[in-house]
């Protein structure tokens, strides 16, 4: 696909992303603390959740409150296939993504006809459905405790870590390139003015549905990876708290920029883990901080920071 302008692949933002990737790859060489590496693995997985949410919601402007439907769908598919049929992780991960994509198709078809609050309400409700099912079929799913004893993705910590980096690089890279492509531009035009996009001959429903399915697939893959990483799957992967957490990470990072939300995912995962010392107050402070973020930095941390830096450079230069 031709680029919209003749920027080389080494333009500013991309160099930054490559440096970030290099730093991520170097982590196990310098950090030997198992707990820290595990946290970064978790942050890598969250980055994929958030990126897949952002391509759907930040780009098309359809705010989904049910991303956990895809994550949990992928996580449970992978865990059940692995637990009962002994499928290896590299197979279950794709099955997880496939099932989540199917969910995207089933839920997306009725929901995408809706706009604004109706869409948000419908996705919120749709995600509650499988959460209830895990309880109904507790003999199969392990009910509230979930299933233990899922095969690890890789026996050693380093191997697991590099797999998580690979997952993040591939999934986030796809979303990033997709967002910057012509197709991404069309998605943005739908967000800005759907009627105008339709008038320009864009089949907006088809675009939104495709995005829904892709977003579902990526989130499902990450969810499946998550269950192989935790060696456990439980209904928390389907909970509304997870859906909201994904949205919050994107908001803090800056919706609709792909890189911002990913940065938000790393920032908040690490912030969350740093607060472990105040276990009692942790979630209270966390939720309060999010409200303050929304009120005072509505554009997100990364866009606000980069705007600030740009202005600072301008003042220095002129």
């Amino acid at each position: 696909m031709p680029e919209q302008n003749n920027r080389s692949i080494f333009s500013g933002e991309r160099v930054g992303l490559l440096i970030a990737l290099a730093i991520l790859s170097a982590v196990p060489l310098f950090i030997k603390n198992r707990a820290i590496v595990e946290i970064i693995i978790l942050a890598n997985i969250y980055a994929v959740y958030v990126a897949s949410w952002d391509i759907l919601c930040g780009y098309t402007g359809q705010v989904s409150f049910g991303h956990a439907l895809f994550i949990g769908g992928g996580a449970y598919t992978a865990a059940l296939l692995n637990f009962y049929f002994k499928f290896p992780p590299w197979v279950t991960i794709f099955f997880g993504g496939g099932v989540a994509a199917l969910f995207g198709l089933i839920i997306g078809t009725p929901c995408l006809r809706l706009r604004g609050p109706y869409f948000a309400l419908a996705t919120f409700a749709a995600a509650a459905f499988p959460y209830g099912l895990t309880d109904v079929f507790w003999e199969v799913t392990g009910g509230l405790d979930g299933l233990y004893g899922i095969t690890p993705i890789w026996p050693t910590l380093e191997g697991k870590y590099y797999f998580s980096v690979l997952l993040t690089a591939v999934c986030c890279g796809l979303v990033y390139l997709g967002g910057r492509s012509k197709k991404g531009l069309i998605l943005k035009s739908i967000r800005e003015d759907e009627v105008a996009a339709m008038a320009s001959g864009v089949n907006t429903t088809a675009y939104k549905l495709t995005t829904f399915v892709i977003s579902g697939f990526l989130a499902g893959v990450a969810g499946a990876f998550y269950s192989h990483n935790q060696l456990h799957v439980g209904p928390e992967t389907l909970s509304i708290n997870l859906s909201v957490l994904v949205i919050i990470m994107s908001v803090v990072g800056g919706i609709g920029t792909i890189t911002g939300p990913i940065a938000g995912a790393y920032l908040l995962t690490i912030f969350n883990e740093m607060m472990r010392e105040w276990e009692e107050l942790r979630l209270l402070i966390y939720t309060a901080a999010v409200v303050l973020f929304l009120l005072f930095l509505p554009k997100g941390v990364l866009p606000t920071l980069s705007d600030g830096i740009k202005q600072w450079i301008k003042r220095k230069g002129g």
Partner: protein
């Protein structure tokens, strides 16, 4: 016959609570265009406050209910003033901030009361025998009667008072109402206080039956959506009809199949409704 009567009463109680909650939700949305995802958090706080005032501090019942309802209404107006109004320009910022606040309130309740359920003793400890056949807790009947009274009062307030007329005017056209000299800011504050008060009242009424739990808001929010979507946003009669349908459907399915399926029936209703008639049963046809 026994089962039939039991379903009749349980369904009515369930429906009346849903109606109270959904009315408040619709009212804010219809008038101020705020999708308040913290609405059922007020219901949860109402339940906790009645636990505090009635079970812990042993205040008398009327006093305890009044205090819970008024403090939630004050909390809601404060929330509107400092958290919602600054982001009112964007519909979905409002949704984000209200759901974050709902989670914040949930954590706050866990912090204060701990994660375990809190039981509230019944307001009246008595069993009534209906038609000499079924035993029903007087508590459930009280819930039903009070909810119906509150709904009637709400109806009278909206259609029979000056403030109610102002609310309807702002809901129809905010700018035109402004030109007529209606203070829309005051209308918003009133509507938010009323809606939160209704939510707190329903929480306080249901607390002796189901207890107070920090995560009780989320599933209820899903059901309120179902009621609102089914009834059609902006239609008060539709909302009541939908609350009755969902309440009874849930109770009938809980009795006949399993309580789990009763829980998820509302989701199926939402998805079917949105696919085939997004404007709701009695709602105006909208472009969806």
């Amino acid at each position: 016959m026994n089962i039939f009567l039991e379903v009749l009463v349980y369904g009515a109680v369930q429906s009346s609570i849903y109606a109270l909650l959904a009315m408040g939700f619709c009212l804010i949305f219809g008038v101020a265009n705020i999708v308040n995802l913290a609405h059922t958090a007020f219901y949860m706080i109402g339940a906790y406050l009645i636990y505090t005032f009635f079970s812990v501090l042993k205040l008398n019942l009327a006093m305890a209910i009044l205090l819970s309802v008024v403090s939630v209404a004050i909390l809601a107006t404060g929330m509107y003033r400092y958290c919602i109004r600054p982001v009112m320009f964007s519909e979905w910022s409002v949704m984000m901030i209200t759901i974050s606040l709902a989670l914040f309130f949930q954590q706050l309740m866990i912090f204060i009361y701990g994660p375990a359920d809190r039981n509230v003793e019944g307001f009246i400890e008595k069993k009534l025998t209906l038609l000499g056949a079924v035993d029903i807790d007087a508590q459930r009947l009280l819930t039903l009667v009070v909810s119906v009274i509150l709904l009637v009062l709400l109806w009278l307030f909206i259609y029979r008072t000056r403030m109610g007329k102002a609310i309807l005017a702002v809901a129809q056209d905010r700018e035109a109402a402004l030109f007529m000299g209606i203070n829309s800011e005051r209308v918003y504050l009133t509507v938010i206080a009323i809606s939160a008060a209704l939510a707190a009242a329903s929480g306080a009424l249901i607390a002796p039956t189901i207890g107070a739990r920090p995560e009780m808001w989320a599933p209820t929010l899903g059901k309120i959506f179902a009621v609102v979507v089914l009834g059609g946003i902006g239609s008060l009669e539709g909302t009541i009809l939908a609350a009755l349908l969902i309440g009874y459907l849930e109770v009938v399915i809980s009795f006949s199949i399993s309580s789990y399926f009763g829980e998820i029936v509302s989701v199926i209703v939402i998805l079917l409704m949105l696919s085939f008639r997004p404007s709701g049963l009695l709602g105006k046809r909208i472009e969806a």
